[in-house]
Subunit: 228 residues, 2 copies
């Protein structure tokens, strides 16, 4: 179970807990597999535990009336999923969906509590993680509220680059739909489509169907800076 799917070092839990715990973690954790497009957990579901993403790519999103949704963040290998619900309530406040085939270690609430009680350094690190996530959330809040759409779309492209990286030819490794770009930028598909077209015309990006390649990162950053 452990050898193929978890090297006991790359996820937040293994990287930050007391080494001695890893043996027990190897026994207690369950490895879970998710297909592309599969729901990992759903807003409103009861929180049973926490996921540590071992491989793949996941979007964390939150609904609003009438099919609308905002993508809160994109996560990659090593990231935590479902930690928001941990201590603050018993229902997930967000949903998580696999963007590509993904694997995660699932740790039950009860076992996590045990770790938190026994390993104070881990608790401290988790608190630090939350603190930095909070900072990111505040930054994003400000951008969603005050930055104009073009800047938010440019920002989304840069974020995807940062989180998922690029392959040998410079194309983004994880195929994200334009609808997802819109959902992260807090806008509509049509607006994304139109703006990506002008970006392509200006050679700032190359959009070959679904795959996107960023040619001029600095120009995207300039768009973000100048987005009013």
């Amino acid at each position: 179970m452990s050898a193929e799917t978890c090297n006991l070092s790359s996820c937040f839990l293994c990287a930050n807990c007391i080494p001695a715990w890893r043996e027990l973690i190897a026994v207690k954790k369950e490895t879970t597999h998710f297909k592309k497009g599969e729901l990992i957990f759903k807003e409103g579901d009861k929180v049973n535990g926490i996921f540590f993403l071992y491989s793949g790519a996941v979007k964390v999103h939150k609904q609003w009336v009438d099919q609308k949704e905002l993508i809160i963040r994109f996560t990659r290998q090593g990231d935590i999923l479902g930690h928001r619900g941990l201590a603050a309530g018993d229902l997930y406040p967000v949903s998580a969906t696999a963007l590509i085939a993904s694997e995660a270690c699932f740790i039950s609430n009860a076992f996590l509590e045990t770790i938190l009680q026994a390993d104070h350094t881990f608790t401290y690190r988790l608190m630090q993680l939350y603190s930095s996530e909070l900072q990111k959330a505040e930054m994003r809040m400000r951008n969603l509220a005050l930055m104009e759409v073009k800047g938010r779309i440019a920002e989304t492209l840069l974020k995807l680059l940062d989180v998922f990286g690029i392959d040998a030819e410079g194309y983004m490794t994880v195929p994200v739909t334009r609808q997802d770009i819109a959902a992260y930028a807090g806008t509509t598909y049509e607006t994304v489509f139109k703006f990506l077209k002008t970006l392509t015309t200006d050679k700032i990006i190359s959009a070959d169907g679904k795959s996107i390649k960023i040619n001029a990162e600095n120009k995207l950053r300039k768009i973000v800076k100048n987005a009013k």
Copy 2:
């Protein structure tokens, strides 16, 4: 120093630490006073410690180019200020400004670290607090991105009611300017002005100059719900 300004029980620190610590806290803390409109700390300043708001009302805000700002949250007695910077960097990512005369206990970084290392329950509670703040931040992110302006303004009024409460005649206890309402809702003064006027015409609120009174809370909630 302690008796007049801090009862050693109402702030997050005193309420959640091991009782034995309170004596030391009483010695180590510094009581700080802020006048209406005074800056408590500024985005980009070096983080020296953490504030526990003892009395008054404070806005936490974040800048964007060209004088624009978003109010991240309103805080009242008992709340923590400046905790974002604690573990995640050495510069404040936000500013804090007193809305009315306010008092806060200041705890230096060094002493806070001591508490965190010695009192694991406190660390755990602080982690829980961050977790719930994160949930709130995500909710707000979604609302700022997807809810239309009228809903966001209505939401702001409800938030002010929730955080600061009302006096005997039903008026909000803390005078918040329309510009601040706009800054929280992520919109402009003019839009707030126009919408508050229709709310007044519809008798949902009474706006007597600066003081605002909410007459029909349920109608405001309905506006939030239906805001697209």
